[in-house]
Each structure stands twice: as structure tokens, then as C-alpha cells.
Symmetry: C2
Subunit: 231 residues, 2 copies
DNA sequence: GACGAATTAGACAAGAATGTCTAAAAAATT
DNA sequence: AATTTTTTAGACATTCTTGTCTAATTCGTC
């Protein structure tokens, strides 16, 4: 075997050393940056948490700022990938639309918002988004941009199939995500966790409201007439 | 006049020196803490931004952590006060419910979320909420707790008066706030501003969806029937 | 086993920030 | 005007952090 491991891209410098070590540094750095903020993060702490010497951190990433940028890029990528994975489980042919959407909403929460990467990314954006917006341009373009469109497309298809009554699928997608987050936001801020039941109940409430707004009007009318008859 | 300026509460140490200077220090500290985070904030910079010598900062607040706590307390109070001010403009006797709620939503945004204090408080919570939750206990109790209840009470009254159809007013209030924020969140993260028209359009979209979910069912039914007839 | 690359521990200089102290200046009060 | 309080500028010791350098050591590969 020849020693040229990266024959195709000699300009993109190959990650020197063990990729595993490189990744463990990024993971540790992500945790530390999120806990302490950029200024408060300590390279020694990152090294210790990664089980690596400080010099190795510098060897791999050269600089605190470069390390931060690498962390952002890494988490952005993982987060977007996960978002699309969850999105691929959207109920395109729902049996019970309300139940299926509720399960989907829970997956969305657990996978993207409540998960480790989601928390990290959100904290990083809040902390440094205003100061270094260029670091998050990729996220904005590939993240919300594409995810919202994709989700909107799914809703549009449901509407076309007669399961929903939607004027503006993009708006519906954004509002769906917002509703799904309603009860999770405050506990999220303080690092608290919700039990499975609470999460599920919250998702159910969000979906119920969403369907009240975007469910087929015929059904809503039928419900209303039925109630009116009973009254 | 006797020299006892604070006869009722001798234990709560009176703010020494000019209150104006004290406030300007807190304002400057708030700005710096929000920009740079707690660890990155520099007392010299706070002093300079407040137009005060560094020693004066220490005289007034003793310590970086105490200064931070004072900032949090101050902003919390102002933010909550403003929230209740806006809340007092809730349309209790709406002429045009949709229009009135839209205007109310815009006031809410401009006053509480988009305003200086709101931004500051949110950033502080995001940055330090997980590490120092005790600092924000007051906010949680007096802020979301009371504001949500108050808003829920207003919605309940509207429902009682026959303008809305709401099962759970607390939930409706939380969802209203979430919907109102949908389009503002991302630009907010990066310090961007929305034009008056965009804000107003966003509020209108939020209110329209809210009313589709919580408007009187009779109206929804009437709409549906009308459409059915036309079809 | 031998070679080269990667890693480690630790020392090190340079810079920055906190919090204290002092003497002089400014402001307010009487 | 005299006095007391507050503010100021600057020096200062201390601590912490970054980023570099070096020599020793480990690891992977041939």
C-alpha cells in the first residue's frame, strides 16, 4: 500500500493524527464552550476533558478561534443531519393524523431541540450569533432554510391529499415548530428535563392546536354543527 | 432635617453616592455583559462605558458577581414592569378582534421581546441560566408565571364573552406568545431588525392562525359552509 | 526491532484582568 | 467657607490564560 492516504485533495490538509482524538477534542470543546462561553472557555480544561494534552489541542486546531469555528461547523453538520433524519419519518400517509403528527413532533423534539447537539448549537448561536454571524451562515442556509422548506413540502402534500387545509405551507411549518416548542422552552433554558409523559402531552397539545387551525374545514364544520345540534 | 435618610430600613444599606451614577453603571454593565458574556466582560470597559472610574464601580457593587446579580435584578424588574404595561392594553372589548389582537401582538413584540431590556434579559438567561438558575428565580416567578396567568385571564374573559372558543386559557396564552414569535426568532438571534411592515405582517399571520384555532366554532362552521355552498 | 510521526509534560514569556490601595481632586452639605 | 463624602487616576500584587518551545515518550507501521 502506498503512503498517499489523501491523493485526491492534497490542498485540503488531511487531519493529522488520529481522527478519534480530533473528534474527542471537538466534543470536549463543544461542551466547554457551551458551559463557559467563548471567553470563559479554558483550553486546559478542554484538553483535560478530552483526555489529551494541551499541546495536542493546539496541534490539531491551532488556535482558540479556529477551534471554536471547528466546533460550530461540526455541530451544525450533525444537527442538520439529524434534523433531516427525523424529517424523513414524517407521516406522509397518516392513519390517524393527530396521533402520527404527535409522535413526529416528539421525535423532532428529542432529536433536534432537546438533544445534546441541538442544545449546544442553540447556546452557541445565542452566545456568539450576534458577534460572529459569519460562523453560522452555513447553519442558517442549510439548517432552518432547508428544514423548513422540507417540512413545508410535507405539509403541502398532506394538504393536497386532503388531510389538511393550508394556505401557506411555509408558514404552517414554522408555526408547527413554534407550537411544538411552547412548553419546552423555559425548562430548556435552565437545563431541566421533562418526563416522557410531559413531553408527549406537550406534543399532543401542540398538534391539537395545529389541527384546529389547519385541519380540514369540513371536519371543523361538522364538529361545530354536531355541537350546535346537541346544544 | 435629620440625617437619617432611610429610617425604615437601616439594614438594607442605602445606595451610596449618586443614584444616577449607580444606574449608569448598571446600564453599562448590562450592555457589556450581554455583548461579551460574563467571563468576557471587562470591568474597565464597564467603567469606561458608564463614564466612571473603575474604583467607583467597585465602590458601588463590590464585586463582578455582585454587579452581575444587580444587573439581572434590575433588568428583570424593568422587563416585568413593561410586560404588565403592555398587558394592560389587551383588547378586552374588541371591535375587530383580529385587528385588535394584531396590534396587541405588535406592542408585545416591540415592548418585551424586541426591546433593549428584553434582548438583554434573554441573552443573560441563555448565557447563565443553566449555571446560576437562582439569579433568575425571581424572573421565572414574577415574569412568565404572572404574565402568562394574566394573559390567560384576558383570553378566558374573551372566551366567556363569546369572542373565542378556548378549553385551556393558559395553554392558549402560551401558544399565542409562541405564534407571535415565529418570524422574529431567527433575525433576533443575529441582531437583525425587521421593518415595521414585516413585524406587522408577522403579527397578523400569528393572530390569523391563533383565531383559526381558537376563534368561535360557529364562525368557522359558517365559513366552511359558505365555501361548501360556493363549491 | 527500527524508523518516523504523533503525543506528552512541563517550562516559559507576554499579556490581560481582578481587586486593593493611596493620595489628590471634585462635589455636596452644613 | 469649612468639612465631609464621593470620585478619580494610577500604581500595584496576584492570578489566570494564551500560545510557543523543547525534550522525552509513546504509538503505528514497515
Amino acid at each position: 500500500m502506498v503512503c498517499m492516504k489523501f491523493p485526491t485533495s492534497p490542498d485540503i490538509l488531511p487531519p493529522r493524527g488520529h481522527p478519534a482524538k480530533r473528534q474527542s477534542i471537538i466534543d470536549a470543546a463543544a461542551a466547554v464552550f457551551c458551559r463557559e462561553g467563548f471567553a470563559g472557555a479554558n483550553i486546559d480544561l478542554v484538553a483535560a476533558e478530552a483526555g489529551v494534552s494541551r499541546q495536542t489541542v493546539y496541534n490539531h486546531h491551532g488556535d482558540k478561534e479556529k477551534l471554536f469555528a471547528a466546533v460550530v461547523a461540526d455541530i451544525t453538520e450533525r444537527c442538520n443531519a439529524r434534523a433531516f433524519t427525523v424529517l424523513s419519518t414524517f407521516p406522509d400517509n397518516p392513519e390517524d393524523l393527530e396521533a402520527d403528527l404527535t409522535v413526529f413532533a416528539m421525535r423532532l423534539n428529542k432529536g433536534c431541540i432537546w438533544g445534546r447537539d441541538g442544545r449546544f448549537l442553540a447556546k452557541l448561536i445565542h452566545a456568539e450569533g450576534e458577534r460572529h454571524p459569519e460562523l453560522f451562515e452555513t447553519w442558517r442556509r442549510e439548517g432552518p432554510g432547508r428544514v423548513w422548506s422540507a417540512l413545508a413540502a410535507r405539509f403541502a402534500r398532506l394538504a393536497f391529499a386532503g388531510h389538511l387545509d393550508i394556505d401557506d405551507p411555509d408558514l404552517a411549518a414554522r408555526q408547527f415548530l413554534a407550537l411544538v416548542n411552547v412548553d419546552l422552552h423555559i425548562p430548556w433554558l435552565f437545563g431541566e428535563t421533562l418526563s416522557e409523559e410531559e413531553q408527549s402531552a406537550s406534543a399532543a397539545r401542540a398538534v391539537r392546536t395545529f389541527l384546529r387551525a389547519y385541519g380540514r374545514k369540513c371536519e371543523a364544520a361538522a364538529d361545530a354543527l354536531e355541537e350546535a345540534h346537541q346544544a
